[in-house]
């Protein structure tokens, strides 16, 4: 195909896409209007299950199966990363030199680490009550651990972060999610149906049936996955070196 024909093809396809997008935009409901057919139903379903945060109800109850897919994607992505970024045969490890960090920065890192960790756990635990949830809190908690690398050095990070434990935790949390979903099946309901536990009192930590448990499983999965992912990246960037043959 010569460049001219290719250009015409792009113009034709682009024009078609633009026309369809414009047509779709013209039929959109008005911005900020009061009529939300899906939103009204989602809020109603969340309230009948005593879940204060509708988003958590959508993620871990009404569409818990979608969340399982997302969790599987993250799990597979981290698995792929671990396989791709392993130490190859023509590479060797060189211990990085201890880093010298200004004392106030080091003190800040040592104080911010537990504070950020507890905040991450707070965001996970209150996922069904306030904005947040397993994903957000898990990322915050995992980032907190890496303050050891930023405020000290790689050796200090390795001493507080046993990667094998986090790999096992990742797999364990993913299977906990599946087991929680399957637990309803012998009782005669569907996979991941929120019928296993009582719905509890509205706006309490124990409200929402299985939502807080699934939320916690996702939180642990995400935290462990991010730690493992960053461990591979740090290994490559800091420790592993190619044999240059020189």
């Amino acid at each position: 195909m010569n460049p001219r024909a290719r250009l015409w093809l792009v113009v034709l396809g682009g024009a078609g896409l633009a026309a369809l997008l414009a047509a779709a935009c013209l039929r959109l409901p008005r911005f900020g209007g009061g009529h939300h057919p899906y939103g009204d139903r989602a809020v109603h379903a969340a309230l009948t299950r005593h879940t204060a945060n509708t988003i958590a109800s959508v993620n871990f109850d009404q569409r818990a199966f979608d969340t399982m897919g997302e969790m599987a994607i993250l799990f597979a992505a981290v698995l792929g990363c671990v396989v791709l970024l392993r130490q190859a045969r023509d590479e060797h490890r060189a211990r990085p030199r201890p880093a010298e960090v200004a004392p106030p920065v080091r003190r800040y890192a040592l104080v911010a680490l537990p504070v950020a960790l507890v905040t991450g756990l707070y965001v996970i635990a209150h996922g069904q009550l306030s904005p947040g949830g397993g994903f957000q809190g898990g990322v915050v908690a995992a980032t907190a651990v890496h303050l050891m690398y930023l405020g000290a050095d790689y050796a200090a990070l390795e001493r507080v972060r046993p990667v094998e434990a986090f790999e096992a935790g990742d797999a364990l949390a993913a299977s906990v999610y599946l087991v929680l979903g399957l637990a309803g099946v012998p009782a005669g309901t569907a996979f991941l149906a929120n019928t296993l536990l009582p719905y509890g009192t509205f706006d309490k930590l124990s409200s929402g049936g299985t939502v807080p448990l699934l939320n916690a499983a996702i939180g642990m999965e995400v935290a462990c996955a991010v730690v493992v992912l960053l461990a591979r990246f740090l290994d490559q960037a800091v420790e592993i070196e190619e044999e240059s043959g020189k």
């Binding site: 945060n53 060189a94 904005p131 949830g133 957000q136 915050v140 980032t143 960053l230 990246f233 490559q236």
Partner: protein, 88 residues
């Protein structure tokens, strides 16, 4: 009138995204990307989607810069092989 803050957030996101594309150096792109993440979090907040804004803040403020900067360091260290810019 309450939409004014939405318009401001949208303009900031558009500006930051354009700046991230116009800059060609990965390190500078990472810096702009960090600001873009903050602007996106503001946009999600004013659109009353705090859960999404929280996700954006959690991922965009520290994790994405760390991943990008580590990848940049690995790539830059490779061709020279002299270890001058490596941490060893």
């Amino acid at each position: 009138m309450a939409d004014a803050v939405v318009v401001i957030a949208l303009l900031l996101v558009a500006g930051a995204a354009t700046a991230a594309v116009v800059n060609r150096d990965p390190v500078r792109q990472a810096l702009v990307l960090s600001v873009l993440g903050t602007a996106l979090a503001v946009l999600f907040t004013v659109d009353q989607a705090p859960d999404v804004g929280l996700s954006q803040l959690a991922v965009g403020s520290a994790l994405t810069p760390l991943l990008i900067m580590l990848a940049v360091r690995k790539v830059r260290r490779r061709p020279a092989e002299s270890g001058e810019d490596g941490e060893k």
